[in-house]
Amino acid sequence: MSNNLVVPTAAEFIAQGKQPEVLFWVGCSGSFDDRAKKITKAFVKLLNKAGVEFAVLGAEESCSGDPAKRAGNEFLFQMQAMMNIEVLNGYGIKKIVTACPHCFNTLKNEYPELGGNYEVVHHTSFLKDLIADGKLTIEGGKFKGKKITYHDPCYLGRANDIYEAPRDLIEKLDAALIEMKRSRRNGLCCGAGGAQMFKEPEEGNKDINVERTEEAVDTGAEIIAAGCPFCNTMITDGVKAVEKEGQVEVMDVAELIASAADL
């Protein structure tokens, strides 16, 4: 299937003697996970629409190392980080945008000590700026009055104190944003952080994603918005577990914006 996405790589920019405004760090989920790829494409559509001169690393991108570091494997993390830093510095990258809060946190906070200093922005903050600068407009019609609840990803919220950018975007859709009881700094984890995404949970009496999804569904929201591909996967599974598939949708904030603009 073809699409009309324009996704230049950093190598192509350099070949033309140009420098991208910003590097879009896609991340492993965004590159390989079927659900997360949709988020990636939605975000790229918005970048294309706003005329942002961005580049991706493509095959030169590699795991940021977040799951390795959180699993305790500092060695593997630093190998990944240093390889990525070499690539990024090689292209003279100054600014990075990513739709994954885990990559965001690692690139922003943990790369500087290893020689990687970039301005790193989460895609929700980036989109907010595009709108503020008039490069992107949102038509709220499609989501007007729809009940949307927002799940705070730990690595965006508590880890980096970003609570408002995604909410501002949702409110721009004229949607009715309903908060869960545990939100913002008290937000409950979806269960995927700290490399849990890649293993079975320890024995307990419930799965964390189910606990969180129940709370989200209890708000009466038709859409659960998230800003993280891991949270998206976990809560999508949660919605299946509580048998609300078809009634409650899990969407990334970028998908909401792109969908509102009929992209």
Partner: protein, 451 residues
Amino acid sequence: MEYIPNIIFTLLLIAGVGFFASNIKKMIRNIKLGKEVDRSDRKGERFAQMARIALGQSKMVRRPVAGFLHIVVYVGFVIINIEVLEIIIDGITGQHRIFAPFLGGVYDFLIATFEILAFLVLASVIVFWIRRNVMNIKRFIMGELKGWPKNDANYILYFEVVLMSLFLIMNAADLTIQQGVLAGQFTSEAALHYINAGSFPISGFIAPLFDGLGFETLHIIERTCWWLHIVGILIFLNYLYWSKHLHIMLAFPNVYFAKLTPKGQLTNMEAVTKEVKMMMDPDADPFAAPDPSEADEVPAALGANDIFDLDQVQLLNAYTCTECGRCTSECPANITGKKLSPRKIMMETRDRLEDVGAVINKEGEWKDDGKTLLNDYITPEELWACTTCNACVEACPIGIDPLSIIMEMRRYLVLENSAAPTELNVTMGNIENNGAPWPYNQMDRLNWSKE
């Protein structure tokens, strides 16, 4: 003969404070078993944080009921200490209410304030006791609080009830004597020692119980309460070292030294950076002899197996924890029934530290007791249940970071023992081989753009 009480008092005071100081010295020695960590940066921000969170209790009130009651007890404790200062000076000098002549009307106001606070503390402490023992609040009845921790919490409350009651009864007896002197009933020299000072809005209600008692009886009641009160305070002071109640002192340095970097940022392991840089440096000489100055050094463990591998701030965290359980009640793993409890991580770390300290006290130096923090106190199952979501760190009202300890122990498990859960080994193998946690080819990373 008339100086005997002063001498006894002074000796008691010296013994009480001295014994406490010697225990605090041991505590500091224990904390220094940890690795040094540099938190000498950003002093202004650290002081501001201490003022806001420790002094100002800003995170306590996030839970309004417990927070409000705690502030009452905290303010009561701090302000009533002014009265304890007077009691100490009285005790040493043999005076009675030594501040009264200097302060005049202010003194009446102060005593009235102390009394009202004492009453409020008493009321709050009773509510605390009910919350802990009657109301079945989950964080107060969980497994790790069984036994000593539960008793410890209750002993603290009983101490406060007794101390506040003694203070008020003492004042009531004092007031009755003062009234007797004013009415000309009591004329002995000892009775005239009770100067007419203070305002007693609370003990005024207790005083009528003493109506009709003679001076001698009132004198005995007043003195008994006075002595029990100050001796009680000295005992309570010395109890702190064995109790979770140490937080009344340690909360301040603990908040001061707390992490200021973003919560999501885990520490960088310098030792690993060195190795990785060497590995990635094409000019590195693999057969180079080690720097002779470093040749004899035993390399430090990667990660934490025991308290010696943790840093001093983490060990201070362990002594500071007052076991309130706010961390655990917000922990997603704990909420869903996993074994992990951030509070237990802190309690076990302190228990281990105390056990190591006990060996040093006995033997004069550390002798391996065959145990380690990892496995003997904290199990891998607890550590692997953590999602690193930082809810525990956010919840702690006094800046404790249980996540940092969990991470150090995971590092030890993986880097020293290669003991990661199987699925994580697969994940890490994938990252190593194809640059993603799943087995996809790195060359396919851009395929989504064409789908």
